[in-house]
Subunit: 283 residues, 6 copies
């Protein structure tokens, strides 16, 4: 019979204590600068709930979630309408996790939350690089007059990490100026993951922050994002790219921009949940 | 900053320990005999998640959830495809709660779960009566050859409690035979809550089990049920009927048949959550 | 065990042969002049399929579908893109039914199909009157240059039946000119069914065609129509109006404008099916 | 044949020039502080597009949009993620309209936009009062640490207009503290519009700002709002309340919180559009 | 003009009599053990209705449904909540079809219905093998305490047919234990159809039961299944695999797990209908 | 601050005057002969509204919409229920554009609108050829008794342009008779774009009309069409085919059959918008 204890809610099988965990999974339900279709705030809750349709075992990597130690810290409670305050809270949480020697695994929210993750990580890992999977360059300097935006987030990250430290894959949308600026300051591979294996060898054991905007996927497989952009990579391609990253020294991960409001069939949320399983097992 | 503790998930404000609680809220996610549109299994999770759109305070009763002691035990884990086993588990849980001197408040699932609640309650409260709000009589003797069904549940309850102990309101659908049988064995008020006040006076302080099939409401206000039946009561009418019940000695409550799959706007789930708040405050 | 015969599909319990039937139920899946949101073509199929969520017994009228003789002829196969040809086919079918001494009960389709029903009926019943429940006057003389349109249908019926023969109820939308024209040529009761009982008495045993545009109902109860118009009547009010009509000599009925594409919860289709049950029992 | 001019997009029939207009209709697509379900940013575009399913004539008031002069200015382009900047832009636009002697009619957006409307109006109309139709008190002093929020907007308006100037109707949700605070500083009528006629007489020809949060309506008729709250008023009741306001000296109007993302049937958007027609004709 | 006969409802063009048919198509609308998202019960009705959007001709195989003899027996009427009774009815029907020398073609329902098909077939074809296309191994011994479940169905089939008789393709989800057990008792090809051609040659003219769980497809093409699992095969790959099977002696077929409730666009149902056309033509 | 001018609505960046434009983009919202699922009438409005989620720059062609001159003429106002009249209006508009030396770019609407485009073009370009991307042959001679239908449109075009002038790609559905007829009168490449490059060379600088039925795409990427047909080409394949066409002398383009009603996620509309950007840049 069911025990009469608390009703604890985690991503499937991530029931380790904080003290004993290697990875800290948590949600950053912020979508305040989303310009097109808000709703990424609901992603972490949806992924957690739908994760029970998954198995804990991966036939891709022959590993099982029951073999690793992950603490699911639930979702941060962020203020609405105050971008700076929300980012600061996310950064503070990430920083604590990193200082405690654990790897933060953040479920966005919109892509701007990556700025908090990178800001927290660089305090400990000064020579950090960023691997960025996305449909969009996110390299605008400002957007509708705002410097903090999901459309400027990688530019803001560049402000912190500097030239030659950011490696983008899957990019298929942006202003001409963004592409031109990018050519001078970072590595962009358009449309595919070509060249990722070389970058990984090059980065060797340097600290890396991995950020995945789920709209890098084709909208056929991932329709429920803020800005669906046709012509993306497949799940299997993304999965292979992620598994390749096991050769990196990853010190922080985020998966952003699932917008469950537009996921009528539930397939997008299920995919995001499966990708997170594979990323957790890859780490 | 967010504390790094467990991610506990309850209906809003129902965070009392089991030991100190007066009411035990829990979900019975069973919909195995649903003949038309399954999905009531998802009701309790949806109501809990959406309850955070509510306030804890009721301007209807001038009471606040923070003033009462409710333990939210989460959802039972029930087997799929085995009706007897699922009902037995629900009954066992209800019985424990009742024997411990607490009031079970069950969120269905389909209406058949009421049979488990009543079976558990009658062990302690031998002269129990049932107040039943529903669009359907649920008085078939069997349905498609099965004696255990959401369409036979009140007939099965009658098997246990006997004549003159069941009081139905809001009924507007059934076979002719069900209505004829009902006239001989129980009290049925068609379409409205007329006469409820008299029944309440008559029951005085005898033990009462209250079961609400949400399809008693008009589908305009509650479209997301297994079998929407036009011409129902309004939320305000149902709310008034529920508040009237504060004069009863209620020993068990259930709210059944929300089917969130059909709740595109979220309004049905929100209504169910609000009704539960009012019922908790009424008890 | 299931017999291995044909898979016959009817509205619940309407399984009488044509030869023995008093009423002929059929679908006219035409929506070719719908100006706003097409899809009424799917109404009859949806209503038939969903009718199995209903009981055959009506507690409103204490009658049962098993006691009456209805043949469900399925749906007409109408050409797309040719309004005249489609209307002609519908008229021909209605005419045959009427000449055979049966009452046609047509499920639209958009409201223009009423013109075919009335055209067929007047050949036998020269002094026919029309009872019309609708949100819209449908009294334009032409619409976007077309004389045959869902927005002109009652005006076209007036061309046939003449002054003083049309009685509208529930009307709450139209151009100023339509209302002004209507005042001179027919009876319009805005917003409600007030006065219907008098009209019924006045019509005594004269032949009457009853046409119901489901958008006469409030969109709360009937959102899935081509043109939802707030402020309508309730199902219970419409049901009472329909039951009142049992004192009329009804020679044709139609129920139009359900658009199942917009019926996510299924509640609109279920309501339409229930209304049809009550109308069949009323006849 | 279609003329080859520009493709101008307005609410139905609101095609007057700014210079000649009495009323300036515009959208303020801001939903940055929405705590529950964002999406009100899409309201004005949806209402404009769906307005073509309406007639210009109102049988309720026997008036026609073609008889009045309204300029539809389209939507403001507001920054995302910066609440102060967005509010300032809205206020500036309203102020210009008011200084030019026209009445601003703002389509929200979330309810916080009202603060900009009131701030603009009080510069010209120092003794302004506010009529407020809503399900929620909106009287929190801060919400999740923020003073600017859709849940605090009326409290912020009170900061500006002071005691005895705000009149709330239809309220059925809030914290206990909000209701207690409200009792001392403004007039709140719970659940209904009772007493509105007296307030209107009392205000006589003083300047009044009218703000309508569409969730004052029952979710049956208006499911597509950020926070559906069961037990609301009907469209007909709200319409009557609005028409009563024709006896006021209204200097600004807003209609907020339609969230078209949750309007699968389109009925909520259609209702909002119809309400705006009636308000325009009432002014 | 439409003839006034019965309204017979079949999959497109499958209008042969039982007596003259080679193939008997029928629906088994059972989803009682579905653990995640029920609704496969609606699959056969939806596929039949939507089949009229298809052509009868296949340009892939240059064959036409009008050239083959298929009887569509409609749907079985199964009891709800009693797994054993439902399975027994399905088995009885299949057995009759097989004993009459026809090939049963079953549209599920959930995957557990395959057990009935195999149980019926093995009575006549003692050395039957099973070709199984699926995302999931379905090899658990029990699930939530139940031995009969959609998650155990192939294990139960193995109980009947024994080692070396089951050939799985496309598998990409399961517990570690299921994969390990499978290695010893049957053939599993993960992710793709690689090796199918060899298996087909090996089976030569031995009797084969073909079971297709539609979630073998990528959720991009088939989102509307009970458990969408990213990374699946494409329709063209599945189609090719099915056409390869024309070289087998197939004595029974089923297509399972379409869940139309989650098929907002209708594309999943359309795909399932097209696949069935190709399978019928392949047989 | 926002200027108080008109609210002009165009596809992103297509704000050139008619006089100075090279291309005239416009919508032909006609879906009157759609036999399966109507709603293509809403395509042009939806594409225009959603185009603001796109960038003006194409990384595929390294071109930008700001560099070309496109006038967006909005949508034609077509009569409902009168196919001939609607086609005549579309033709008249196209003819004017062509006579004025501009290239018409029509957004359907159903595919029958192509007939108007071709009829207009052939008046100026007598030796016009047609490149046709589609899932369906559209070569029936009549459909349900009608010669003008979305299912006959290419046959009607053949009536005008004659043998050897039509080149179909991606075709995967049709009656056997259509394929047989097609073999004699035009070029059909089934399933893919194989051979397109040769056709393009062959056509050299002859005038070409390009018509794209969006259902040529796989329903995974484009579910929101009238008739989803599994097994289609990918967006990247279609994009490459379109870019190849830059070597043609294109004198008219249309993109048809998007049906936004079935586009819950918005991904289909976004894809169509992106395809139009690429086509505009290709021209």
């Amino acid at each position: 019979m069911k025990k009469m204890d608390k009703n604890i809610h985690t991503y499937i099988s991530c029931d380790c204590d904080y003290e004993n965990a290697d990875i800290v999974l948590f949600g950053a339900p912020f979508d305040g600068t989303t310009s097109y279709r808000p709703g990424a705030r609901f992603a972490s809750k949806a992924i957690r709930a739908e994760s029970f349709g998954l198995e804990t075992y991966s036939p891709y990597q022959d590993k099982d979630l029951t073999d690793i130690k992950v603490f699911d810290g639930g979702d941060l409670e962020l203020p609405f309408g105050n971008t700076n305050a929300a980012l600061a809270q996310i950064e503070k949480y990430c920083e604590k996790v990193i200082q405690d020697g654990r790897t933060p695994f953040m479920i966005g929210g919109e892509h701007l939350v990556t700025l908090s993750g990178v800001s927290a990580a660089i305090k400990k890992f000064h020579d950090i690089s960023i691997i960025h999977f996305d449909a969009h360059t996110d390299l605008r300097d400002s957007y509708l007059g705002q410097q903090l935006s999901h459309a400027t987030v990688i530019r803001r990250c560049h402000d912190i990490v500097g030239d030659g430290r950011i490696f983008q894959f899957g990019i298929r949308s942006g202003e001409r100026e963004e592409f031109l600026w990018g050519e001078k300051h970072l590595f962009t591979n358009k449309f595919t993951f070509d060249g990722l294996d070389n970058i990984i060898k090059q980065l060797a054991d340097k600290p890396v922050y991995l950020t995945i905007d789920l709209d890098v996927l084709d909208p056929a497989e991932m329709p429920a994002v803020g800005t669906p952009e046709a012509g993306g990579v497949s799940f299997n391609q993304l999965l292979n790219a992620c598994i390749l990253c096991k050769n990196l020294n990853i010190v922080g991960v985020d998966v952003c921009e699932l917008c469950p409001v537009y996921d009528n069939s539930g397939a997008s949320t299920a995919l995001a949940g499966k990708l997170i399983r594979e990323l957790l097992l890859m780490l």
